[in-house]
Symmetry: C2
Subunit: 335 residues, 2 copies
Amino acid sequence: MKLASLKSGRDGQLVVVSDDLTRMVTAGDIAPTMQCALDNWTAVRGDLEKLHERLQNGEIQGVAFDQAQCASPLPRAYHWADGSAYVNHVELVRKARGAEVPESFYSDPLMYQGGSDTFLAPREPVKMPQSNGFGIDFEAEIAVVTDDVPMGVSAEDALPHIQLVMLVNDVSLRGLIPAELAKGFGFYQSKPSSAFSPVCVTPEQLGDRWSEGKLHLPLISQLNGEKFGEPNAGQDMTFHFGQLVAHAARTRSLCAGTIIGSGTVSNKLDGGPGKPVVEGGVGYSCIAEIRMIETIQNGSASTPFMDFGNTIAIEMLDDQGQSIFGRIEQTVEQV
Amino acid sequence: MKLASLKSGRDGQLVVVSDDLTRMVTAGDIAPTMQCALDNWTAVRGDLEKLHERLQNGEIQGVAFDQAQCASPLPRAYHWADGSAYVNHVELVRKARGAEVPESFYSDPLMYQGGSDTFLAPREPVKMPQSNGFGIDFEAEIAVVTDDVPMGVSAEDALPHIQLVMLVNDVSLRGLIPAELAKGFGFYQSKPSSAFSPVCVTPEQLGDRWSEGKLHLPLISQLNGEKFGEPNAGQDMTFHFGQLVAHAARTRSLCAGTIIGSGTVSNKLDGGPGKPVVEGGVGYSCIAEIRMIETIQNGSASTPFMDFGNTIAIEMLDDQGQSIFGRIEQTVEQV
């Protein structure tokens, strides 16, 4: 099943979307909003599935689906926590500044809580007061949405709580991170509003590409129209989504509609850092990563962060080349 | 005006409460929930004020108000960020481990984002899987609720965006903090679900005790039935709430219903740390603080953190000795 939220009020209007993303039908009779559906997931899921089936088999014609009319699937959420499950990314961050990766990073996930009250729409500009010094970067990631999760759930028992999967651009302000992390309280101003893919899908919709809490397909990022990365999200993921959800729920329960992110998708190559797409590699899911590799190799970074007018697109294709989640397309603009 | 949310479904039922906290009337005809009221604040505020006036002057009798039936004013919220505005508290933390306070801490607020999807009710137990090693602590604080705040708002312009004021117990797991902060991503598992006071009030309701973004009254904490602290929340607050809201909104807008906390209320005494209540001082708003002073004075802490069966009550009285926000009363229990 594929779901989306059309822009409407603060919480959007829930629609069921055809697998090829061309048609949709409102789900308003079942649940007016995505949050409302998740709040009552056990009761409404079956009806939503049936509606999707009728849209798929042509019993319902529906109307044209336009990704540009979408808000993020949850236009605002009660909980958005982002892991850093591809430890390769962390290894590069550390290596670039000459620091070791603590052993615990391979058993205890890194996770920060992000702002969830004002998500951007998937085609909405990233508006910032300045680009100079802010180090505006994208981060292409996978995210999952859970139902209610009890405190202390195990990683294995957490997996069936994952109800929806989507993509996210976790916008990061690299220029603000060092000073903010030095204060010891974690990211806050350095992580402005994120944007999610137009469409979210059930894990079942992903077939065998979803297995053991990982999504085994390349995540494609295009920076200013050029392919920048296509690492496989199922590879080099140190912690699967069940482990990330369990980490989030260790000392508190999670409310339906909690979003847990994977962190920047990052693949190794022959045990070391990957290569840029132009050199035949799978590239990167954020600018910081290529800059770290440049720093390690040349002593300094040459690829600039994003400036006003720059664009980022994030998408994932199925085995037939069909977009699964629709396409995040954002331009950086001055506020 | 005083407002509360009776326990009902996921988001509570909005009620208007009499100033003496004895009577209430449902606000369902105006807005079913607190979040709904805040989402439409400009449109509904006047009607809520009128209802409060009619309850106050006896035109509406209402029904008995029972704090024990209350959820937190926002049973779940889209954004809960907690500052650390009483730098005295930070000075003690640092002094206890022999570290200096960076100069920037007096101009750039510390703030972390907390879990907002599963707040505890004001009389709900703090349930934890273990007490040993977790270092279960309370933190008595003031919190404000905003309407929609634009990105980049100034501290002065942020003040009129503060619509409601309440108290909070920001439960902290001291035993998990060092390892978690060492990872660099800030608090997450070490900050489980918080509980807020039964009632929230408009700044106007506080009269001249609310001035320049600070609440000038003692915040009373009782640990296991004994007074533990009564520092004045208006004193030694390095950053007022306008500054905290502006900090939160520097790189993103804030959605209506955003909750910003003050951090642990902490007063100095003669330029140094305060004294315990039993020694005639104003005491402390968390156990960690007295432990830090014990560590500084005696080389080690003697006051234990909370164990199963321990209780914490947090309250603020007006000049007539009347409870303003009602009383947070929580027991620590094993899950």
